[in-house]
Symmetry: C2
Subunit: 210 residues, 2 copies
Amino acid sequence: MTTAARYHAPVPRPSVEAERRKQILDAACAMIAKHGLQELRVAEVATAAGLSSGTVHYYFDTKKELVNAAFEYNFANSLERRKWLRRAAGDPLERLREIIESYLPGKGKSLRAWRVWAELWAEGMRDPALRAVNESLYGQWRDLVRDTIAAAQHEGSAREGDPEQLANMLIGMVDGLAMQVLLHARAMPQQRMRETCAAFIDQLVAAKGD
Amino acid sequence: MTTAARYHAPVPRPSVEAERRKQILDAACAMIAKHGLQELRVAEVATAAGLSSGTVHYYFDTKKELVNAAFEYNFANSLERRKWLRRAAGDPLERLREIIESYLPGKGKSLRAWRVWAELWAEGMRDPALRAVNESLYGQWRDLVRDTIAAAQHEGSAREGDPEQLANMLIGMVDGLAMQVLLHARAMPQQRMRETCAAFIDQLVAAKGD
DNA sequence: TCGATAACTGAATGGCGAGTCAAGTATTAG
DNA sequence: CTAATACTTGACTCGCCATTCAGTTATCGA
């Protein structure tokens, strides 16, 4: 053949990869939150995303890869949804209360995110990659809470004490109580979790004469 | 037929069921702690118990049944191992510290039990039967901590405040921090969890002039 | 329209593992 | 020893589902 095709600039279709990946990961998170990792089916993710199973594998070689990416996506989303918390001005103590409020397992996105996290925790006990994702969120969350407490102390609206330790107490408490809320424990509906966290802040963080 | 076999008292072999079930459930817990529910294999449980897979199915019709029983077994074991905490005499505040110490995810039995619990949490978000198991432990644990705090208050070694709420703060914190310890979070090794819990008791539970 | 590549499809494959079962073995009282 | 029942085995079946792949379609610049 004399095909002197070399004059043709290779002009492929523009990439839709970024968009498609998001679409798939979003569906994956939804399915993980709904049915758990245990019963996650690649075909189901595909359907939920309006695609064929083949397409999912076009973007993610294995199920494991898909799941890990979904966890990271869920993590990134959590951060994204809470960017405003960093910039927020005003009374740091009040801001701390808002931060905690925003982390209560509520409805919609928040509930979904918590469920996915709970799955990650279980799976993370074995998978180092998932542990790294947890490390990231845990770290960022702790930093946010610690800095806010420190700011309140600086302002005099919070009593003295190691802010990192206080932050660890608070986020540990939030995680543990959230788990019980997710499990629909009778003794721990969302409202009680809210009150319990608020009481902690009032009693241990806020300055006495507040 | 002339088979007047009715004079034979039906005398079966004595049951080894109780023993065998324990043996299987213990192996199941070990496997759940080691590999997670995700990769739990009935055949593997059988091998770990020194039995054939057929025998496991002789005592547990389905895998789900086995798993649920294993969770209950793990729960019952936790209670059993901590019976002494109820009876223990002496300074209630000191007892509270011992209780928390005994719940730190340490080595051996304790670590295994925590891992199994973490799996139960994830699974419990969908399975009502497992939620009931959680409800039971959570309830008993909360009662133990609440009563101990109340006793300390009665004695004057703990400050005033709703003991149930304080108990919820403390056990929530323990659960959340334990999760991070299990995940090997850099910022939360076992020793830091110990310190953090101790600090909570010192600062929020213990009476000022203690 | 063509050539080139990206994106997509869904039927087919292959492996895995829960659950079954027919065939044993063990222990008892009589 | 015999009959009765409890217990045990492990090879086999059968369905499910991740993954593959040969083929199709879409979109681009020229």
